[in-house]
Symmetry: C2
Subunit: 706 residues, 2 copies
Amino acid sequence: MVLIAGAARAEDGYALWMRYVPMAPAQAVEARARLRELVAPEATPTQRAARDELLRGLEGLLGRAPRLSSGPIGEGTLLLGTPASSRWIATLGDEVRGLGPEGYLLRQTNIDGKETLVVAGGGDIGVLYGVFHLLRLLQTGASLDVLEIREAPRVKLRLLNHWDDLDGHVERGYAGASLWDWHKLPDWRDPRYTDYARANASLGINGTVLNNVNANALSLTPMYLEKAAALADVFRPYGIRVYLSARFSAPIEIGGLDSADPLDPRVRRWWRDKAREIHELIPDFGGFLVKANSEGQPGPQDYGRSHADGANLLADALADYGGVVMWRAFVYSHEVADDRAKQAHAEFIHQDGRFRPNVLLQVKNGPIDFQPREPFHPLFGAMPKTPLMMEFQITKEYLGFATHLVYLGTLYEETLRADTHARGAGSTVARVVDGSLHGSALTGMAGVANVGADRNWSGSHFDQANWYAFGRLAWNPDQSARDIARDWAAMTFSSDPAVVRPVVEMMMASREAAVDYMTPLGLHHLMARGHHYGPGPWVDGGPRADWTSVYYHRADRDGIGFDRSVRGSNAVAQYMPPVARVFGDVDRVPEPLLLWFHHVRWDHRMQSGRSLWDEMVHRYSRGVARVGDMRATWEGLRGRVDDARHREVAAFLRIQQREAQWWRDASLAYFQSINGLPLPAGEAPPPRPLAYYQSLRFPYAPGDGR
Amino acid sequence: MVLIAGAARAEDGYALWMRYVPMAPAQAVEARARLRELVAPEATPTQRAARDELLRGLEGLLGRAPRLSSGPIGEGTLLLGTPASSRWIATLGDEVRGLGPEGYLLRQTNIDGKETLVVAGGGDIGVLYGVFHLLRLLQTGASLDVLEIREAPRVKLRLLNHWDDLDGHVERGYAGASLWDWHKLPDWRDPRYTDYARANASLGINGTVLNNVNANALSLTPMYLEKAAALADVFRPYGIRVYLSARFSAPIEIGGLDSADPLDPRVRRWWRDKAREIHELIPDFGGFLVKANSEGQPGPQDYGRSHADGANLLADALADYGGVVMWRAFVYSHEVADDRAKQAHAEFIHQDGRFRPNVLLQVKNGPIDFQPREPFHPLFGAMPKTPLMMEFQITKEYLGFATHLVYLGTLYEETLRADTHARGAGSTVARVVDGSLHGSALTGMAGVANVGADRNWSGSHFDQANWYAFGRLAWNPDQSARDIARDWAAMTFSSDPAVVRPVVEMMMASREAAVDYMTPLGLHHLMARGHHYGPGPWVDGGPRADWTSVYYHRADRDGIGFDRSVRGSNAVAQYMPPVARVFGDVDRVPEPLLLWFHHVRWDHRMQSGRSLWDEMVHRYSRGVARVGDMRATWEGLRGRVDDARHREVAAFLRIQQREAQWWRDASLAYFQSINGLPLPAGEAPPPRPLAYYQSLRFPYAPGDGR
C-alpha cells in the first residue's frame, strides 16, 4: 500500500534543492521556537516572493509556517526587510548599512526586548537571497544558534547562457527541449518559468541570456521581443534580468540595411533604435551577448573592423539604458594556421583599453573549448583594462552528456584558484573575475545552462549539482567545491551524514574519473565529430584541421602530445613568465597538463615510475574503475535515497560505466595502432578491433550544433 | 498558507483522467462496504498491473485500499481474475465463457454465500480493462448497485501512431518533444513510459507505432530495435504491442542492396531476415505501418509494382510471427492532374482482394487530410475484401494546434456514423471499421497521437480529451461523443454536475466553432503553408498545386467552391449511388459540405435565406463568438476547477479567441479581395489590410514537417 502511494508521489527531481522536506524532529522543535511569527513587508513583488518562499519552505521543513504578523515584535519572530521597507530593520543602523542592493545580513538579535531572527537586505532582492540562505541552513541541518552571516555577491553579473534555438532545440542540451515555449509566449506564462526563477534566485543568479550565441536575428523582432518581455516580467521579482544574444548581421537580416558595418551611421542608428525598442518592452533589459567572427558567425571583421569596434557599437546603443555587452573571446580563425589555443589571446590582447566601460569580454575557462581538463585561459590577468567575464560550461558537452556523473564544482574551482601571476603570486583567476585584481567595477560570470524541459531540469539528478555549483561560485568564486557539494547533497537527497558523506565523495572524485577515461594527462579534443558523443581520437580530415582529434594529440610512432613550449607553438608565452616557465618545462609542468603543453616520447618516465604509455593505460583503466567505485557507493545508498531517484541514478551509472569502458577501449585500440606498443601486464585488451569503434555512428545524438 | 501549499502540489495534468481524487463522502461509504477485501491473482505482470492500478485507484478514491486476501471470499470482496487464474472465477461458468482475451465482465454476484463484486476477464488483459472500467464508474460517481457490464472490443487493433522522429522532433506535434528518449534507451526506462501504457490501457488501446510514417530506415537497425524492445518490455504488461513504421527503401539504405523491388528475391529475403531479427528482440512485435509512394516517400511504384505487391512483401515477411502490415491509403501523385480527393480511391479500388490476409489498408477519415470537416473517405465500404483501418488524427494539425479547445469526439463520431450505403442504408463507416459490414476478422483504428514530453502529455488539458475519445471510440465505434465527453470531464476535472455540464457543452460545441472560424460550409485546406499555423487562403504557387489553398477553394469574382459533381471532377461518383446523388446535388448536399462538392455563386441562396457570401461571413463571425461563449463558460467555473488548470485553460482560450478572430479577419479580407462584395450590415471589417495578414511569418511554428 505504502509503496504504491509513494510511487504516485515519487521524487522526480522537479523540486531541485528546494525540496523542503521535514527536518529531523529535534531540530524542528528548536527552529519552530525561533520562527513563531513572521514580520515581513509585502508591498512589492520581490517582497512577496521572499515571504512566500519562506512560508513554503518552513511549512515543508517544520510542518507549519509561522504566523504572519504586522508587529509588534513578539518572542521568536522572524523579521524580514530592508531599512526602507521595515522600520525595525531601519533601527539596526550601522549593521545594515552598506549591504548593497543584493547583500544581506542574517542574525539573531534583540528587538524591543524580544529574541528576533533578522533577515535584512540592502534591497528587496537581498532579503530574498537571505531567505534562501536561511532555508539552506535549515535544510542542511545547521543550527540557528549563533547566526551571524553577512553576505554580498563578489561578482556583479551572475548569468546563465541558454544556447536555445527558436525551434526548441538546445545546442549542446541534454535535458530535453528548450524551457521556453516560444509559440505560446507571451500569452501563456508557464508556472515553470517561476520555478526556474526561484531556483536561480536561490543561488543568486541574477541574469539569463535566453537564446543561443549562434544567434538568430529573429530574436530581435517585435514578435520575439514581446515573448522575451513576458519572461522578463516573470523573472523580475526574483532579481533576474533578461539578456539576448545578438546576431551581428541583424541590421541586414531584419533591418533591411545592406551592411552591418559598425562604423556605418545607419547601422549605429539601427542598433540605437533597436535598443530603445527593447527597453520600452523590457525596462530592465540587461544587454547583449555576442559571438562574432567565430565559427562562421558574422562580425565586425567582415567589414575590416576590430572586435572593439563591434562591441562598442552595441555598447553605445545600450549605454543610456544601463545595458552591457558581453563580447565572447571564443574566436579562432579558419585562415590562421597558428595553434588554436593561442588565437583568442592573440586576437584580443592588443585591444585592451579599447572597449567602452559597459563591455565585458567573456572568456571561456580554458583556451580550447570546455574540455574535461584545460589550463586556465591565458587572457585571464592579461587585460587589466578590460572586465573579463568567466564563461563556464554547465551542460556537459564534452563530459558524457546527461548520463555521466561528473561534478563540475571541482573543475570550476581548479580554474578559479589557478594563479595567473599577473600581479605576482596570488593573482588567481577568481581575483581577475571578481575585479579585485585590477580594480574592475564591472564583473561577471556566465554558465552555459544545462536546463531544459526534462522534468528534472538538467537531464539527470546529479547534473542539478552543476547548475547549483555554478551559481554558488558566481556569488563567491572562492567557495570550496566540497562545501558546495555538501550543501547540495544534503538539500537534494538527505541531510543524513550517512548519505551526504558518500555522495560528496562520489562527486569529488567524479571529474578526475572522467578525465582519466576520456583524456588523461593533458590530452584534449578527442571526442567524436559533430555531436561529441563518445571517443574519436582518430578523427581527421573534414573542413578544418582544428576540428579534428589528430590536430590535438599529434600521436605518432614515437610519442604524443601538442608541443606548446617554446620549441613548439609557444602558447606558453601567452602566460605570465612564472606560469610560462612551469608550463613550458616538461619536467615541471603538472602531469595532468603534460600532453597539453608537450610532445613526449611514449617511454618518457612519469612520476609513478611508469612509462608514459603505461601511465596512460593505467589512467584510462583507473577512470573506468572509479566509475565502478561510484556504482558500488551508490548501491550502498539503496534505501537511504528514495527509490525513484536511486533507480535512475543507478541506471545512468550503468550507462556511464559502459561508456567509460568504451572510451578506454576505443582510445587504447587507436593509440596502439599508432605506437604498436603492448599493454602493460594485467591490462585487458580492447575486446573489439579498432575498426569497430571507428564504425559506430550516432546521427541523432542529442544537442548537436547545426 | 493553504494556497501556497496547494500551489506546491498544483494539478499539472500529468495524472490525466486517472487522478483518483477522493469521492463524495456518501458514495465512498457505500463503495468501501463493497470493496473491503481484494482477492486477485498476482502471478503475471499483467495481473500485478491490474491489482496495483486498483489499489492505487481505490486508495485515492476511497482514502484507503481494500485488504489483500487470498481467500476465502468474505463479505464485500472484490474478486479479480480469469477462469484460468482464479478458481472462483472459474466457477462462474457460462457467464465468463466467450469473453475473449480482451473482454471482461463486471457484476455483483454471490460467491460462497458472500456478496462479491467480480471483475472477470477472458484473459489477464481483460481483467486490467475491467479494473479501469470499475475505477471509471467510481470516478464518475456511478453506483455499484446494479452492476451488469459485459464488454469486449469491437475493433481488434486499437493503435496510436506516433509521428516521432529519431531526433526527438514530433511531426505535427504540439506537446513538446517526443516521449521516447532514444538516446537513453534501452538502459533507462523512464517511469513515464509506464504511465503512458497505463493511460492507453485505461482506454483499451492495445498497440503503438513508435516512429513517424515519414520513416527513417535507421529505426530498423539493431541499435534502435534494442531501444524499441525496451519500450515493448515496459508496455507488454499493459497489453500494448509495439509496431514500427517501415521505410520501403530500407533494404537499400541499411541493407546494402541496390534495390527495394518487392519482387526481387534478395529484397524478400532481407525483409524476412529483418522480421526474424525483430521478433527475436520483440516476440510480440505487432508489425509495420507503411507510407509508400506518397509525398516523396519510396514505394513499390518506384519499381513499377503495385501497392499490393509492396504490402504483400512485408506481410509475407511477418506472417510467421503473427504480424500485420498497415498500408496507408494516403497517396496522391505529383504527376496525376486529377482532383487530389479522388486519387486514393482511384489507386486502391482495383486492388481489392489482392492483399494478403494480414494486410490492412489504413484510410484517413476523409479524402484530403484531416481537415476541420471532410466527408467520409469514399474507400470506406468500397473494398469489401480488404480490411480497412480507420486513421484519425488526434493531434490538431489543422485545428489550432494545442491552444485551441476543439473536442474531436464529435468529428470522429460524425465520420463513424456516416452511412456509406455499401450494403444499403445503415452501412455506416463504423460497421466498415469494426468488420461487421463485410465480415472482416482483422479490424483496426489508428489515431495520430497528440502526446509528447509536455508535463500534461497533450500540450493542453483539453487535448487530453481527444486522446481519451479516440481510445474509447476505438473500443466501440458506436459510443456517443457526448457520453465520452461526460466521462472525461468528470474524471479530469470534477464529477460535480455543475462542472461536468458546462464543460461538456463547451466541448460539444467546440469543433463546429473551429469549422466556422476556419473553413465554414465545406471549405478546406486554407491554412498557411508548411507549418499550417493560421490562415492562408491566398496560398498559391510552390511545388505542387494541391498543396495550395486556391486549388481547393477556387474562389473567383462569381463564386467559390470545388466542383466535385458530375460537371466537375466527379469525385462524387466514388461514393455509392445514394450518397453520390445527395453529395452531387447542390440542392441536397448538406450545407456543411456545400463548397466541398460544389462551386457556387456568391449570391446562391442558403437555407437561412442569406446569400452564400453573407452566410459565410455570418459563420466566420459566429465561430469567433462561440469562442467568446466558451471563455464566458470557463470563467464561470473559476473556483470549481483548480486554479492551476483554470488559469492555463483561460490563457489558451484567450489565444484561441485572438486566433479565431485572425482566421475570420484574414479570410474575409482575402475573399473580399476576390469577390469585391461588401460585408453584411453589422459585420466588423477586418481591422488590417489583406497585405498585413499575408505578410505574417512564423518560421518556428511547432510541429512542422521536414
